[in-house]
């Protein structure tokens, strides 16, 4: 599958929903180490709401559908990550307003806008041990893929790899934002919970497109 059209959004968001159902306890655990243990619950709520929104708005254009999914997430999960991810989908969706399907180029646009939205909303920067440490390499990787004219499956495979590396790198960082920031040095060695969510989204996209390719 070389691009994601309107019709694929419902099954895509069903996958995302299912991933966050299955990763619920894992995320609760991760957030519990230096946070308040709610991440598994809020991401569950967020992606359930997103799936329902996408189902209800599947007649709309892709960009619009993604924006509405973001709004639904914001409503369902007003936690830090809920708000940041919601922002990402709203901004990413807005960037795709004039497109009817999502190929490599659009995917790159989407994540660039997603990343910018998260930066603008949360005022964190790379290296602060957040979601951004996954999103930034993802966005860069997708930019490179577009320049190299990679297919969507290829581009997402490389992006997911970049996400995994970015995620691993958060272990070496000291948290600067949110509840974890209070723990400072104690966050060294721990994988950031929000960054894990970023990885999971990108990796689910990769798997979804790879699966459909067959």
């Amino acid at each position: 599958m070389d691009s994601i059209g309107k019709a694929e959004l419902v099954p895509l968001f069903a996958s995302l929903r299912d991933v966050f159902i299955s990763q619920r306890d894992y995320l609760i655990d991760l957030d519990g180490k230096v946070g308040d243990s709610d991440l598994g619950l809020t991401m569950n709520k967020a992606f359930l709401a997103a799936y329902e929104s996408v189902s209800a708005n599947s007649a709309d254009a892709v960009g619009r559908t993604l924006q509405l999914a973001g709004m639904a997430m914001a409503k369902a999960a007003p936690s830090t990550m809920g708000t940041l991810v919601a922002t990402g989908f709203m901004r990413g969706g807005k960037a795709l307003e004039s497109f009817s399907s999502i190929g490599s180029a659009e995917m790159s646009l989407f994540w660039a806008a997603f990343l910018n939205g998260v930066i603008e909303r949360g005022k964190a920067k790379r290296g602060d041990k957040t979601l951004i440490d996954v999103l930034a390499p993802v966005s860069e990787s997708l930019g490179t893929s577009v320049a190299c004219a990679a297919t969507l499956p290829e581009a997402l495979a490389r992006a997911a790899e970049a996400a995994a590396k970015g995620l691993d790198a958060t272990k070496g960082m000291i948290a600067q934002h949110g509840k974890a920031a209070c723990f400072q040095e104690k966050t060294l060695g721990l994988q950031d919970a929000g960054a894990t969510v970023g990885f999971l989204i990108v990796d689910t996209l990769r798997a979804f497109v790879a699966e459909r390719k067959k």
Binding site: M71, A74, T83, L84, T87, M90, R121, G122
Partner: protein
């Protein structure tokens, strides 16, 4: 935990039910969500002003929804941000076609949610501007004002912006007024005891029997100095010095003063504090236009107080003097 409550989880919603039941002519809830509070007396064509933030600070935030004040407010759990969606509902409800101004405190959760709400409102064609209160001198040094927390001084922003909107000013103008007040207000607080978040059930932080913390935030954020509680005049001196130096307030200025109780401190003590403030201002050749003493922004049952000064000009003086009315704050024309 010596509190009047039923199930801690229901505390905020039960409080809100009590508020709606007590003031049905003045407050209404928007979109069927208790936590979206709007004035029951909307004014056609007026710029809407909204605020919001965690519960546990009454009369902040919802207490300033009223005539000549704010139009709506979204509240979250105790010390927790409301959602962007709730802010959006409030924004929709108060939109009279003239746009809306958000005025709230400098806390990351609030900022993210208000920004997001503004963005969503924008998608719906409602023009929204935002202003973040950051009056707490103790929370970051001069030059880093953008990092300062918003505390009781936000009352002055509400009051002036509310009067400006009531006068019929356009959104940009109301924002300009709010910016001017924001630029001219400074606050310092001191905490003597902790507060208790109902769902937590115990003191948020511990502080010794004879200790005070100068500059502590309204959620117990660390202040400038923890030390032995001293005589009231000395404590006031220690608070006034950085306030005056920061703007700076200088001889010939005219100010409004707010001596704010954090929850458990008796009004008697707030007046002992004001006595010293008045003498310091007199000494410094700074005139006092009006004085507010009482609980304007609290931290549940925290004992402590804050002092806010607002430097006035003709416009802000006029706006501050205008009448205002809410279930929590009334003022006749000064």
């Amino acid at each position: 935990m010596k509190k009047f409550l039923n199930v801690p989880e229901n505390f905020v919603d039960e409080m809100l039910e009590g508020i709606y039941a007590a003031h049905p002519q003045q407050l209404a809830c928007a979109a069927g969500d208790l936590r979206c509070i709007v004035s029951a007396r909307p004014v056609k064509g007026k710029v809407g002003i909204a605020t919001g933030g965690g519960s546990g600070h009454l009369p902040l935030f919802l207490g300033y929804v009223g005539t000549g004040l704010l139009d709506g407010c979204a509240v979250g759990g105790v010390f927790q941000s409301p959602s962007a969606d709730q802010m959006l509902e409030v924004t929709r409800a108060i939109n009279q076609g003239a746009g809306a101004l958000y005025i709230y405190g400098n806390y990351s959760g609030d900022i993210m949610n208000f920004d997001m709400a503004a963005e969503m409102a924008d998608l719906e064609g409602i023009k929204v501007l935002s202003l973040v209160g950051n009056d707490d001198v103790a929370s970051s040094p001069k030059g880093q004002e953008h990092k300062r927390r918003g505390v009781a001084g936000i009352f002055f922003i509400y009051k002036a912006a509310g009067a400006a909107a009531a006068e019929g000013m356009a959104l940009d103008e109301v924002k300009r007024v709010a910016e001017k007040v924001k630029a001219n207000v400074r606050t310092m607080g001191v905490a003597l005891t902790s507060c208790i978040v109902p769902e937590v059930g115990h003191a948020s932080f511990s502080i010794g029997e004879n200790e005070m913390e100068i500059g502590m935030g309204i959620h117990g954020e660390p202040g400038i100095r923890r030390g032995a509680l001293r005589q009231a005049d000395e404590v006031v001196d220690e608070m006034m010095q950085p306030i005056l130096a920061d703007l700076p307030f200088v001889r010939g200025d005219e100010v409004a003063v707010l001596v704010n109780g954090l929850g458990a401190t008796p009004k008697e003590e707030l007046y002992v504090i004001f006595r010293r403030v008045a003498s310091i201002l007199k000494e410094a050749g700074i005139a006092v236009f009006h004085v507010y003493v009482g609980e304007y922004a609290t931290s549940m049952e925290m004992a402590g107080a804050s002092i806010s000064l607002l430097k006035l000009d003709d416009e802000t003086r006029r706006l501050l003097a205008r009448p205002a009315q809410s279930p929590f704050f009334e003022q006749q024309q000064l």
